[in-house]
């Protein structure tokens, strides 16, 4: 992996300078909101340190907690569904030749490359046309749809590296097809399944644009709640919420650290 750690000179090169500046650029906004979340005043003038906005956030924001609950329910259900369907499909596509194979492969890449607005609008128009009421169910469907391609791709990449002779060995030792699948294949691709599950949860918790189109009354998720707050102007409670969400992201990325490279390759 690191077969090029031979560089002799130590003075900062152009590329390293760019790297440091870019990381600063990426983090400065996050630091600013975090810093002002501990400000006692409402505006961007520092007064003194205070946890008042965190108090408001935790004890005085019932609709936020409702949105949070919705977000968690949708993230979990859609990630489980996407992970199961996507992993099964990856197994089928990698190992068997059958009619409809190329259709499924092609169609599974498209949601990843089309702009979110298109997916959101087409789903909204579809749900209205077939008269499905917008709400938790439609958000669940939408999230599963945009999560599926990532699961499919990540598990397929892992299966491509998988040594098929281990299955033959298992079969020779008397395992039937189902046993070989459950005891050999699934453990071998488990890292990919887990990392795609985490990726799905992250993307589901993060999504605003698509959710915005397919949500109905009472089904608002956390990003929709943030959106409605931003529209009413800058509020220090959002600063506090931002810091909590940044911490959450860090936690997920930290759990995910072993798979960061896979995630980078498929992003």
């Amino acid at each position: 992996m690191n077969h090029h750690t031979y560089s002799k000179k130590k003075r900062p090169s152009f590329s390293n300078t760019m790297l440091i500046l870019t990381i600063l650029f990426l983090f400065v906004p996050l630091f600013v909101v975090t810093f002002f979340s501990f400000n006692s005043a409402k505006g961007m003038q520092w007064e003194h340190a205070s946890l008042i906005w965190y108090k408001t956030l935790i004890f005085d924001s019932p609709s936020l907690w409702l949105a949070f609950r919705n977000s968690i329910i949708i993230a979990l259900t859609s990630s489980v569904t996407a992970t199961v369907l996507g992993s099964l499909a990856a197994i089928g596509i990698t190992w068997y030749r059958f009619k409809g194979r190329s259709y499924i492969t092609t169609i599974s890449y498209l949601p990843m490359v089309l702009p979110e607005v298109i997916i959101g609008i087409s789903m909204l128009i579809f749900f209205s046309s077939v008269k499905i009421r917008l709400g938790m169910f439609t958000i669940f469907v939408a999230h599963t749809t945009f999560n599926l391609p990532f699961v499919f791709m990540m598990v397929q990449a892992r299966l491509d590296e998988f040594d098929y002779s281990t299955i033959e060995a298992a079969r020779d030792l008397g395992a039937n097809e189902r046993q070989a699948l459950v005891k050999v294949v699934i453990p071998a691709i488990m890292p990919a399944i887990l990392s795609s599950f985490l990726m799905c949860t992250t993307m589901s918790l993060e999504d605003f644009v698509i959710t915005f189109f397919v949500s109905g009354p009472g089904s608002g998720t956390l990003p929709l709640y943030v959106y409605s707050m931003i529209r009413y102007g800058v509020s220090p409670v959002i600063n506090a919420l931002s810091f909590v969400m940044i911490l959450g992201t860090m936690l997920i990325a930290f759990t995910f650290r072993r798979f960061l490279k896979t995630a980078a390759a498929s992003a």
């Binding site: 152009f14 870019t22 990426l26 909101v33 596509i93 702009p115 644009v209 943030v226 800058v234 930290f254």
Partner: protein, 308 residues
């Protein structure tokens, strides 16, 4: 490599069994909705949203309108400029990351802001750039300006925030490709008398073409379809095509026109993707022709080094 002895019928059955749940899911919730949009773009608009089932090119005719043309042109130049900025920044960053010994830490640092909720990131920029915001109060306190500057709600702030939001989309694929690049080739070029810049442009760039086109396309497509950034940090004259589509659906309730605009967005994205795939394919076949040469080079370069 794959199962060879399996009867075709069984293959068909098993493949179908495993893959069709996902296939059906995509057909119902992706293909059909897209088909509906295509269909609706050729229909008459209904009085209260929806459509009337009659073929017409009305929606496409409505699109030929100076105000929409302006938005389309603006969307194009804003997304082009932001994408080019992203890729230009991402090349040295991806290079530095690939050469670094702390790849996991750096990936972690790039991915944290990337995974942080997009609205939170936009909000952070609003709180920095707005007239009463962080930057202005800092400038006033330092005595550089007397009163707050108008830093937000214009095309400049849209481009800045777009670059901020989509920079990781360019960095990650470039990092992945550069990481696979054999840096000994650069040393070889330097030994043969090339300058550092020459060796990077002439030796590395041809080898990371697929990463460059992936970075370009994966940045361009979401920026071209951007909706939240121009809405929240843009001014009156920063509307982009994504905003028009949403307005046509939620405010004007003109579904055919929204569908027609969506068709444009979809077509542009698909052209981009096919261009990317074609360039990746070209690179793959190009590589095949040079296999022997490349192999020889590799052997020479790695002479005396053990590879896993």
């Amino acid at each position: 490599m794959k199962k060879a002895m399996r009867p075709a019928k069984r293959e068909q059955l098993l493949g179908t069994l495993y893959s069709f749940p996902m296939g059906i899911w995509f057909t119902v919730f992706f293909t059909v909705p897209l088909a509906i949009i295509i269909l609706y773009s050729f229909m008459k608009r209904g009085l209260y949203g929806g459509v009337e089932k009659a073929f017409t090119l009305e929606a496409y005719r409505q699109m030929i309108n100076p105000s929409f043309a302006k938005v389309l042109v603006r969307t194009l130049w804003i997304s082009m400029l932001s994408t080019i900025l992203c890729v230009l920044i991402a090349i040295p960053v991806g290079y530095a990351m690939a050469k670094s010994r702390h790849q996991t830490l750096l990936l972690f640092l790039i991915i944290i802001p990337f995974w942080t909720n997009s609205l939170i990131r936009i909000y952070a920029w609003i709180s920095i750039l707005s007239t009463e915001g962080f930057l202005n109060s800092l400038l006033i306190r330092l005595g550089i300006v007397k009163e707050g500057l108008h830093l937000i709600y214009n095309n400049g702030s849209v481009i800045l925030v777009l670059v901020y939001m989509y920079l990781p989309f360019a960095i990650l694929p470039l990092f992945t490709t550069i990481d696979k690049f054999d840096f000994f080739l650069l040393d070889a070029a330097r030994d043969l008398g090339a300058t550092k810049l020459e060796s990077i442009v002439k030796v590395m760039f041809p080898n990371i073409k697929s990463g460059l086109s992936t970075a370009f396309i994966f940045t361009f497509i979401p920026i071209f379809g951007a909706y939240t950034v121009p809405l929240l940090v843009g001014g009156k004259d920063s509307t982009m095509i994504g905003n028009i589509i949403v307005d046509q659906v939620s405010k004007t309730r003109n579904w055919p026109l929204a569908s027609a605009f969506s068709m444009i967005l979809t077509l542009v994205s698909l052209i981009g993707v096919f261009w990317m795939l074609a360039s990746a394919q070209k690179e793959a076949t190009g590589k095949k022709q040079n296999t022997l040469q490349a192999y020889e080079q590799k052997v020479k370069a790695h002479h005396g080094r053990s590879r896993r």
